[in-house]
Subunit: 134 residues, 2 copies
């Protein structure tokens, strides 16, 4: 079951430049920011209604977001759908033969997450997430 | 003021193929579908929480979505933010020197809408919309 859009990921060359638009100009509040070494990104999360915009600046050109910028330039990178049970959702999609990037949920910025393969979703990189209640 | 993500636009080659994933596999309910000649698209709207996924199939290769597919392939096309007063929001952005596609709000699928220029928003095509209460 998909509950809502958890966040939209946007690949940017400079977090500071991007925040000028999304935070200063549009007025979206910054909820958190973090450097996630294992994903090779500096990220900022902005609140928009019950969802978030996740701005992603690569730490290196070889990181996944770095390679995306090289290939496609700045812009919409992925969409994350919130589900109450990411493991069950993933098993259901596997049973339907959906192509996946992650075979098992793993810890991510949004909680327990997994990525589907863009081939499954008409070119869209789709993430599923179950927020972890701390 | 930006209230929430109204919808995410996804450019697809075939609405029927895309619905197999978003509706049949993911289980998102189809809320409406329409052919909008003046925008050169066949569209389907799927409900996801308080937002929507807007699947867009071009009516011709020369339409804006047709040209997007040619240039970038299938995938995330634009993001639409809901605001209570699109005209006031647009004036505010103009005053801040934000680059725009539409100088005035116009009627769109989501109500009264306007598009900002992707240059303003780090490569993201941003739409603003105020739903029209019928």
């Amino acid at each position: 079951m998909i509950e809502k859009i958890h966040h939209i990921g946007v690949a940017v060359r400079s977090l500071d430049e991007a925040l000028k638009f999304y935070s200063e100009t549009l007025g979206l509040p910054v909820q958190a920011s973090a450097t996630v070494e294992e994903q090779g990104v500096k990220a900022a999360l902005l609140t928009i209604g019950g969802s978030e915009i996740e701005l992603l600046e690569p730490l290196s050109p070889e990181s996944p977001v770095g390679r995306f910028l090289e290939r496609k330039g700045e812009g919409l990178h992925h969409i994350c759908f919130q589900t109450p049970d990411v493991a069950a959702e993933l098993e259901g999609l596997k049973a339907k033969g959906v192509e996946l990037i992650d075979q098992q949920p793993r810890r991510g910025l949004a909680g327990m997450i997994c990525f589907l393969h863009p081939k499954a979703s008409r070119g869209v990189l789709v993430e599923l997430a179950t927020p972890v209640v701390s």
